[in-house]
């Protein structure tokens, strides 16, 4: 028996996966290697850029300039331009940090965890989800760096390097764990992403009409020639990177949650935090993938590749992780009561009925109640509605971090030190600015790099399937 025959059954999940009744396929029928190449590389290898792209990029870029302005102001005047002050020493900086880093987690989940679980639908969304991860990590990293006020002076207590003062970081602090977690996460995500891009760069090199295109993509392709020996090591490296990234992504948000959970503050000091944060991260990240996928597939006509199957699966992941998050809320409330600790009890009461209660109930309305809509097939099929819901989910997850951070800090053990927190315009400017940075990077990415992984898409067209041989 030849190796070809043994392989046959492996591929029933393949392009014909849509054969299952009622489940849309992961790729529309009728595609071949070249139609996939044409569709995906056509976006890049064209002289014409859609006017909508310029419009979108201009808006994003304006917000990026706002970020520059804010950073300039911050570096000149110090972090006093922000609204946080004792007792709320942490506010927008950490809220936005956690929000952005959480969004990034879906990219790694799609590229690594779904690969290990052999979820074929990941193939058409992994590339731009990974890009989303990288850009979200870049936005997240802005906040802890800039909240030091003078980042160039902060290096010695953030990073372990032999400095002239003979000082070393304090490794018992979760904030240092965070530095290691986030920098490792950023590095590994970038390696994973670049590795995935190399075979696609070779395709672009071979398809490029212009000399500049051939040279640039040629260099980025590293001379990739599709050798079987290379593919063997490549696939192994890809699998290993996925295996490594899986515990990594779980550790990152676990460590982010340690920033809070390792303290002794009511509302932060809770053992539910690591799983609750990881679920929240994946929940908000999938919402962002959906927010990006809906316009992407619409404007670039990628409905064949990002099918209803992907949309359905993403909403289902959001439903599951959203319910874990809702369980986390219930758990927090339960422990506030069950601990019989007056400070814990008051923290919860203050969240539910205190000055920030409208935010608390909004996040409950979104993250616990609204997501129940995802149970309905009608909702899962309604793309404009899903787009709105995905935006709301990210609002909900932002509010969650706001509530966790601000309500725990503003009224602590000693009523004489209670105070209210309100962000300043510069807080909002910086947040909006990072959204501008994120979107600017994303616009550049979809214009100049393949937003869908061409070589992986090629593996799911019917042509890629090995045919059994009909000889002795």
């Amino acid at each position: 028996m030849s190796v070809v025959q043994e392989r046959e059954y492996d591929y029933v999940e393949g392009a014909a996966a849509g054969a299952v009744r009622g489940v849309p396929p992961v790729i529309a029928p009728g595609h071949t290697f070249e139609t996939v190449n044409d569709k995906i590389s056509g976006v890049i290898l064209t002289k014409r850029t859609p006017i909508g792209w310029f419009l979108g990029f201009a808006i994003a870029f304006a917000f990026l300039m706002l970020l520059n302005l804010t950073i300039g102001k911050l570096l000149m005047e110090g972090i006093g331009i922000w609204g946080n002050n004792v007792p709320v020493g942490w506010a927008f900086d950490i809220i936005n940090f956690v929000w952005w880093i959480g969004i990034g987690h879906a990219g790694t989940l799609i590229s690594a965890i779904l690969l290990l679980f052999r979820q074929q639908w990941r193939t058409s969304i992994n590339r731009f989800a990974e890009a989303m991860t990288l850009f979200a990590v870049a936005c997240a990293a802005m906040f802890p760096l800039l909240h030091t006020g003078r980042p160039w002076l902060a290096a010695y207590w953030l990073f372990p390097y032999p400095n002239t003062m003979g000082l070393w970081p304090q490794f018992r602090s979760p904030l240092i764990w965070d530095v290691f977690a986030v920098s490792t996460y950023g590095t590994v995500s970038a390696l994973f992403w670049f590795t995935g891009l190399v075979p696609d760069m070779a395709t672009l090199r071979d398809r490029a009409q212009s000399k500049a295109g051939r040279i640039i993509f040629g260099m980025l392709s590293l001379g990739w020639r599709g050798s079987a020996r290379h593919w063997q090591r490549y696939e192994m490296a890809y699998l290993l990177l996925a295996g490594i990234s899986t515990p990594l992504v779980l550790s990152v948000h676990t460590i982010v949650s340690f920033d809070f959970a390792v303290s002794v503050l009511p509302g932060w000091h809770a053992t539910i935090f690591p799983p609750y944060f990881v679920a929240g991260a994946i929940y908000s990240g999938f919402a962002m993938v959906l927010t990006l996928a809906v316009p992407l597939r619409k404007f670039y006509g990628l409905e064949d590749f990002i099918t209803m199957r992907h949309i359905h699966n993403m909403t289902k992941v959001m439903l599951v992780t959203g319910m874990i998050v809702a369980y986390g809320y219930a758990n927090e409330a339960f422990f506030a009561w069950y601990s019989a600790n007056p400070y814990e009890g008051y923290m919860m009461l203050n969240r539910m009925t205190g000055p920030y209660a409208p935010f608390y109930w909004s996040l409950i309305a979104i993250n616990a109640a609204m997501i129940q809509l995802f149970w309905f097939r009608k909702v899962r099929n309604n793309i404009p509605l899903l787009f709105v819901l995905s935006l709301l989910v990210n609002v909900g997850m932002w509010l969650e971090r706001f509530i966790i951070i601000v309500t725990s800090l503003h009224r602590d053990f000693l009523p004489s030190s209670w105070d209210m927190y309100a962000p300043t315009r510069w807080d909002f400017a910086m947040f909006a600015g990072t959204i501008g940075l994120f979107l600017s990077l994303f616009f550049l990415f979809i214009r100049f790099l393949p937003a869908l992984a061409m070589f992986e898409m090629r593996t799911i067209v019917p042509e890629a399937k090995l045919q059994p041989e009909h000889h002795g």
Partner: protein, 186 residues
């Protein structure tokens, strides 16, 4: 268009002979038959990874997993060593009366450096074992090879193979029903 140019003995030094196929199935069975015919110095080129080619070409398992394991171990040990040395010897600080060597606090960073070491060795190791980046390779001399990254499949038997013979090998490749057979200039 199945032209064999193997008869031009005055042609420049050869890297090998390359056959072009339309489907992954044809490539896999061609590679398998070439191996059964005794050829060893050969390589297949395809726009998608084909697991069956490893067996068809008789490729050995890659050493990459071992490298990644070592990278992870070195990364983890370095991380822990850095923490141990900096917290107990170079710059001991009393944090809430905890021992200087408070190992549970050192685990998160150890974990992250383990991951970093493993990931870096997977990345660097894979490209190094593949000898990439390599800007020039003889296979790019074949005009049809631009489709190797798009939709065509190639098998190249190299001149270094002891059984390589310009005429016999070309004839053998022709017998595999390729789209075409081409000489690959060095």
């Amino acid at each position: 268009m199945a032209d064999v140019m193997a008869h031009t003995d005055s042609s420049p030094a050869l890297h090998g002979l390359m056959a072009e196929f339309e489907t992954p199935t044809a490539l896999v069975s061609a590679a398998e038959r070439a191996r059964l015919a005794g050829y060893r110095h050969m390589d297949a080129y395809s726009p998608i990874p084909i697991e069956e080619l490893n067996e068809a070409l008789g490729l050995r398992r890659t050493r990459l997993p071992m490298l990644v394991l070592l990278g992870g171990i070195v990364g983890g040990m370095s991380g822990y060593a850095l923490e141990y040395w900096s917290q107990t010897m170079a710059y001991p600080l009393n944090i809430g009366g905890r021992p200087f060597h408070s190992w549970p606090h050192f685990i998160p960073v150890t974990f992250e450096t383990t991951v970093l070491g493993a990931a870096l060795s997977a990345f660097v190791g894979m490209w190094a074992l593949n000898k990439l980046p390599m800007p020039y390779h003889p296979v790019f001399n074949v005009p049809a090879f631009v489709r190797a990254s798009r939709d065509r499949f190639f098998l190249c038997i190299e001149t270094t193979d002891p059984r390589f013979d310009r005429h016999a090998t070309a004839q053998f490749l022709q017998s595999l029903h390729p789209v075409g057979v081409t000489e690959v200039a060095q």
